[in-house]
């Protein structure tokens, strides 16, 4: 595999629920500023202030690829190992939507096919436009780094407390 595989990572605690990611995703992929046609969805519980952007995980064992009857949904190992849907092969059976545990692929009512995140061909627009950096595009082996850093910082802080 050429280069390091990159993945989208969500930090729901940083998300403000502005839904700009949905808007830019829709504009980039469809030309329409219609969040319902976006490949990223922000699930909200407004009254308690929880916002959760839902993205495709491009799973290692992708159920959508397994169940697709036409091979429209396939993996591209040469292209960041992403899972994409070939809209020229998709028949719109929506089996992939049912199979995906993350509820990710979406049925585009206008194009009558299923669509999903394709990392915007290497430059995800949701990441570019996300002001609070709730969605990031990082090397796969760096996913846990912020958590590790947090844990290390806490450890250092507790040691300092003990010494004082």
């Amino acid at each position: 595999m050429e280069g390091q595989q990159k993945v989208l990572v969500v930090d729901h605690q940083k998300c403000t629920g502005c839904r700009l990611c949905e808007l830019v995703c829709s504009v980039y992929h469809t030309g329409a500023s219609n969040p319902s046609r976006a490949r990223i969805k922000v699930v909200k519980w407004e009254h308690v202030g929880i916002y959760l952007p839902m993205i495709c995980n491009h799973c290692e064992k992708a159920y959508c690829v397994e169940v697709c009857p036409t091979k429209a949904c396939h993996r591209e190992p040469e292209n960041n190992n992403r899972v994409v849907i070939d809209r020229n092969l998709c028949i719109g059976c929506r089996t992939c939507i049912i199979a995906c545990p993350f509820g990710h692929p979406f049925f585009d009512l206008q194009e009558r096919v299923t669509v999903k995140c394709d990392f915007c061909d290497g430059d995800p627009k949701c990441v570019v436009f996300c002001e609070p950096k709730a969605v990031t595009y990082v090397d796969a082996d760096m996913v846990q780094m912020p958590k590790k850093r947090d844990a290390a910082n806490k450890f250092i802080a507790s040691i300092k407390q003990v010494r004082e």
């Binding site: 308690v48 929880i50 397994e66 169940v67 719109g92 059976c93 545990p101």
Partner: protein, 338 residues
């Protein structure tokens, strides 16, 4: 097992019952199952009872009985139209067979196609027993055996298609193909009874109608037992399996379950058929019972489809905990303010 309020986090769009497959796939599953079931029953009936009532149409011999008992492939072909109708781009339906290695939709496409073609061939041969077709040839029996295999595969496939969806605990069980198979046999035998009822086609043959009705009643009882096992096992299988069963039995779908599946599919047909057996095969009663049973078969598929809730993801479990913490914190602040 009583109804409980669904947690707000679980009640979001992603964790509500799936809405992708609804009425149209339910009709497809139902017609495919009923057609396949009626074909299996029809072939067995033909082997062991040999009903025959030949009339002449335009000088050709035409066997009425065979038309009634071998019409399964026609139903399956009709059901396949609903599958195509449900596609986003209908003209691409032939692409649906491109990935039989891993996809059950593709495998089903092939199974159904073979069954429809073989079944229609055997139907034509049976209703027009022309000498040129060698109707007594051994090869036709082999073809019938192969057709039975594909009919059973079709009936099982309707369940396996759903079972293959690993992320929905309600569907992910071996009991679902079994349930759909038994339902296919019960609705299939009832379809044959209804199509021949009043015509005297089976009634003239010694005890054929009675035996068929008895078989149908046994299938209904087995179906009831399998349905109970299916629901009870799924209730214990996973949290979302439990949610699905609750939804079906006590939630939004309770009318569909108790009215459509239990009353129309099991209770009313059994009562009406029981009354009909005391009144020497009252045709209107049997006809009503049959129609209700067929409706029940459809509602069974619709209910199973509509109650499918996806597995909960770990991150949503985290959301649930976070939600509860926030509500508790804000609740205590609100109390202090008061």
């Amino acid at each position: 097992m009583a109804a409980e309020t669904i947690h707000p986090v679980r009640n979001v769009r992603y964790l509500r019952p799936q809405e992708e497959w609804n009425e149209i796939p339910a009709i497809y599953l139902y017609l495919a199952g009923m057609g396949a079931g009626s074909y299996v029953i029809g072939v067995f009936l033909n082997w062991f009872v040999h009903p025959s009532q030949v009339i002449s149409i335009l000088g050709l011999p035409f066997d009425l009985t065979k038309a009634a008992i071998f019409w399964g492939p026609v139903l399956v072909a009709l059901g396949a139209q609903f599958l195509i109708l449900d596609l986003g781009i209908k003209k691409r339906f032939l692409y649906a067979c491109l990935n039989p290695r891993t996809s059950w939709v593709a495998r089903g496409f092939l199974i159904l196609s073979i069954f429809i073609l073989l079944g229609l061939l055997l139907l034509v041969k049976s209703i027009f027993p022309l000498e040129g077709l060698y109707p007594k040839s051994f090869l036709w029996y082999v073809a019938e055996l192969i057709a039975i295999f594909f009919a059973l595969a079709t009936a099982l496939y309707t369940g396996i298609l759903l079972k293959a969806t690993k992320s929905i605990p309600l569907w992910n069980t071996h009991l679902l193909p079994l349930l759909f198979l038994v339902s296919a046999l019960s609705t299939g035998s009832m379809a044959i009874i209804l199509s021949t009822l009043g015509s005297g086609v089976l009634a003239t043959t010694s005890g054929a109608l009675k035996a068929l009705m008895r078989a149908e009643q046994i299938f209904v009882v087995i179906e009831g037992v399998v349905l109970y096992l299916f629901l009870s096992r799924r209730y214990k299988a996973a949290e979302q399996g439990k949610d699905s069963v609750r939804l079906l039995l006590f939630g939004e779908k309770k009318l569909l379950f108790w009215g459509g599946i239990v009353l129309l599919g099991f209770v009313f047909p059994m009562i009406l058929e029981g009354i009909a057996s005391f009144s020497h095969g009252n045709v209107p009663l049997i006809f009503t019972a049959g129609l209700l049973l067929l409706l029940g078969g459809f509602f069974l598929r619709l209910g199973v489809l509509r109650a499918g809730i996806k597995d909960q993801l770990p991150m949503l479990r985290l959301m649930e905990i976070e939600y509860d913490n926030l509500v508790a914190r804000w609740g205590s602040l609100y109390q202090k303010k008061k």
